[in-house]
């Protein structure tokens, strides 16, 4: 799926990176557990997210031929291309983890186009701790809890609150202090988030987000979303 030539070029540029990620051993196992996604997924990223474990999490469940990755910004060019995609009439699942400015535009454009938004999350991460404020719907039911479990398993400190304004059940909150020496794993939330957004119905228990390794952990404020056209 190509948004425009411009974004296609961007997709190619990032596609190489995504391709490297998808060469990881064990991917097939994870996909089998998760249920392979066979519809196009466009992943939007900005800034350091491009080099984070977020894309790694997505790649665990979306085959390369169905995944396109695009950088966002808040320029007029991106807005034109994204609007064109939203209004193309092609059913597409768009997931992303981007900066606040890009997210403000993306979600507004999605609404204006009539797209559905089953997930909206705000995230703040610093060394050894992350905060997550989530809005979920019926189709992403349980995703926040799964993210919470992953955060807990990773050992980094976190707080998570989920609002389900249109659910009969009440919202919930989770929090944990960091385990000793867990700061190095604080990027795992991004991998888990990528996995969950790419495959909201998938079984996550068989998969553990990979260790960050030498990559600097993702720090700062981000917004995640799932958009369906």
């Amino acid at each position: 799926m190509h948004v425009t030539r411009r974004s296609f070029i961007k997709g190619i540029a990032l596609g190489g990176f995504a391709g490297v990620l998808m060469a990881r051993p064990g991917r097939a196992l994870a996909r089998a557990a998760a249920g392979v996604q066979s519809r196009p997924v466009l992943a939007l990223v900005s800034g350091a997210v491009e080099r984070s474990a977020f894309l790694q999490g997505i790649a665990e469940t979306v085959p390369g031929e169905f995944l396109r990755v695009q950088r966002t910004d808040h320029g007029m060019g991106f807005v034109r291309d994204f609007n064109q995609l939203l209004r193309s009439g092609q059913p597409t699942r768009i997931i992303g983890l981007v900066d606040d400015a890009s997210a403000a535009l993306i979600v507004e454009l999605a609404r204006a186009s009539g797209a559905r938004v089953p997930w909206l999350g705000y995230h703040a991460a610093s060394s050894g701790h992350s905060r997550h404020r989530l809005l979920s719907t019926e189709s992403t039911r349980g995703c926040a809890m799964r993210l919470g479990r992953q955060l807990s398993a990773c050992g980094a400190g976190f707080s998570l609150s989920e609002q389900r304004p249109h659910h009969a059940e009440t919202s919930f909150e989770l929090a944990a202090r960091p385990h000793n020496g867990a700061a190095g794993d604080s990027d795992r939330w991004a991998a888990a988030l990528g996995f969950i957004l790419a495959a909201p119905d998938a079984e996550l228990s068989a998969w553990m987000p990979p260790s960050v390794g030498t990559r600097p952990p993702l720090a700062g404020n981000f917004v995640s979303f799932a958009i369906e056209t």
Binding site: V79, A101, E108, R116, V117, R131, N221
Partner: protein, 518 residues
């Protein structure tokens, strides 16, 4: 949730009655224009205020495509006493976004009423529907080859003239005061009747978009920042493209320079030498184009003076940067440019930056685009300054006097810093008044910070009120509070009008504090 099991209901409406109403809406508008599924409602919940989303969750969203459908929606809402919150494009971000005033209200989204009905290139007028965006209008003008400019506010391309004018927003060209350049409205009243204001009431009138006042009481004003009707068409004036457009900036290095620069620019504005909405941007507002707070510090709380000075030094940003532009024929612009230059020289401070000097400076380009009526989304950079998605515009009015601006900046900075937040503000000069717009930015993932931001905003309102200052616009969470600032008599008059025009209180209860139930 099945569609018969609504998790959120309009206040005071039973589930069965709401279901019946939804069925009627479907019959009127078609299934695709009646949204009740969760994932269809979530995009209307990306609020930026210091309150939970749940308090502003809609029970349903309707989209109408013509006036008759709007009349039908009003009829059904009256029948079931369902409150309806109307948005044009709904992109007003730090003023509340598209979310309704309170939980359970249905949203009437007019984005599909997006026809440009008429543009007269000779009279420089337009008649448009609420869903028309500035981008759409600019594209249409370009396609037709008309020599006309539009005047968008900062979110430019994605917002529209009807919504922004009805909220009394401002832009940056000589047509910056949008309501001043509005002419004629079509309004669906709560009783279903269609009112055309001004000359629009005269059969076969061709002066609806050229003469604002009509005959008898001037009514257009009561349909701005109000809930007395649903505006379905609006006339506006467009600026003829000038032969010459010359943007410029003047950088001032010290905080206290705001006093002198306002004194210098006021007469230039009142005399029409600089005809546009002149901006005086504070350091952090200006910096947000290229800088994030986290580039300098990750400490919680207000950004220190030392850090702000480092940002100024490293990015060559003034304590205040004035942006203005000259418009007209070559001769007019040359004469006026000399007057501006002389005024600055006489002041003895301020670094003048022309378009040539600025080169590729993104901050200059952004401001020049706004003053030219070009589409730009650079201002969204503000949301990355602190991050976390919290943004509430605190927008007091000020006399265009230097002493007043100093007082307001010091007061606002003290309160914001006390609550661990930054002064990210600018002034927009429109002859005699200054719109002082301060973006109260905060992190919504941090409940403690969100709580501080809420308290901060309330204190800003309270302290400014004590000093005789009122705001010209506010987000939905604080509308009732602000209505109090304007006194009990204004509130009572508004309520009297509401009672007369909308006795069932169905149109946007709570808008600007007008609600028959409180």
């Amino acid at each position: 949730m099945t569609e018969q099991n609504y998790a959120i209901l309009p206040p005071g409406v039973e589930s069965q009655a709401f279901h019946n109403a939804v069925q009627q809406f479907r019959q009127l508008l078609g299934n695709e224009n009646v949204l009740v599924k969760q994932e269809q409602l979530v995009p209307y919940m990306k609020i930026m205020m210091s309150v939970d989303e749940a308090g502003h969750a809609a029970s349903a969203v309707l989209t109408a495509t013509n006036v008759e459908q709007v009349q039908g929606v009003v009829r059904i809402c009256n029948e079931h006493k369902i409150p309806v919150w109307t948005v044009s494009t709904g992109h007003n971000f730090g003023y509340g976004t598209a979310a309704p005033h309170h939980r359970g209200q249905i949203i009437l989204d007019l984005k599909k009423m997006n026809k440009i009905i008429e543009i007269d290139p000779d009279l420089c007028t337009a008649l448009v529907e609420p869903g028309v965006t500035y981008q759409q209008l600019a594209d249409h003008i370009k396609e037709k080859g008309y020599k006309l400019w539009v005047d968008p506010p900062a979110p430019s391309a994605i917002v529209g003239p009807v919504g922004n004018t009805l909220d009394r927003g401002i832009g940056y060209t000589p047509y910056a005061e949008h309501f001043m350049f509005q002419c004629g409205m079509e309004v669906v009243l709560a009783n279903g009747k269609v009112l055309r204001t001004g000359m629009g009431g005269v059969r076969d009138s061709n002066t609806w978009q050229v003469f604002k006042w009509g005959y008898g009481p001037y009514l257009d004003g009561i349909f701005t920042q109000s809930n007395f009707g649903i505006v379905t068409k609006m006339g506006l004036w467009l600026m003829p493209q000038p032969d010459v457009f010359r943007p410029f900036a003047v950088k001032f290095r010290k905080d206290e320079d705001i006093k002198d620069l306002v004194e210098m620019f006021r007469p230039l504005s009142i005399n029409g030498i600089i005809p546009n909405g002149v901006v005086f941007a504070g350091t952090l507002y200006e910096a947000s184009v290229t800088v994030r707070r986290s580039d300098y510090t990750t400490e919680k709380g207000a950004t220190s003076k030392d850090v702000i000075q480092r940002i100024r030094d490293e990015h060559n940003i003034g304590a205040w940067t004035a942006y203005g532009a000259l418009y007209g024929t070559h001769e007019q612009v040359e004469v006026n440019w000399r007057i501006v230059i002389d005024s600055i020289k006489k002041l003895g401070k301020g670094e003048i930056i022309t378009e040539d000097h600025a080169g590729n400076d993104p901050a200059f380009k952004y401001r020049a685009d706004l003053m030219r009526g070009n589409m730009t989304l650079t201002e969204f950079g503000l949301y990355n300054w602190r991050g976390g998605g919290g943004s509430m515009w605190f927008a007091p009015l000020s006399q265009a006097k230097g002493s007043e601006t100093v007082k307001q900046v010091e007061l606002a900075t003290r309160i914001l810093n006390k609550h661990g937040l930054d002064y990210v503000g600018e002034f927009i000069l429109t002859q005699r008044a200054l719109h002082h717009v301060i973006d109260v930015l905060f992190d919504r993932t941090d409940t403690e910070e969100m709580s501080r931001a809420h308290d901060c905003f309330a204190e800003l309102l309270g302290e400014f009120e004590k000093n005789g200052y009122g705001v010209y616009r506010v987000n939905t969470a604080f509308m009732d509070r602000v209505a109090n600032s304007f006194g009990p008599v204004q509130r009572e008059v508004n309520k009297t009008l509401k009672r007369a025009l909308d006795p069932n209180n169905i149109l946007a209860p709570g808008k600007s504090g007008i609600d028959l139930d409180i």
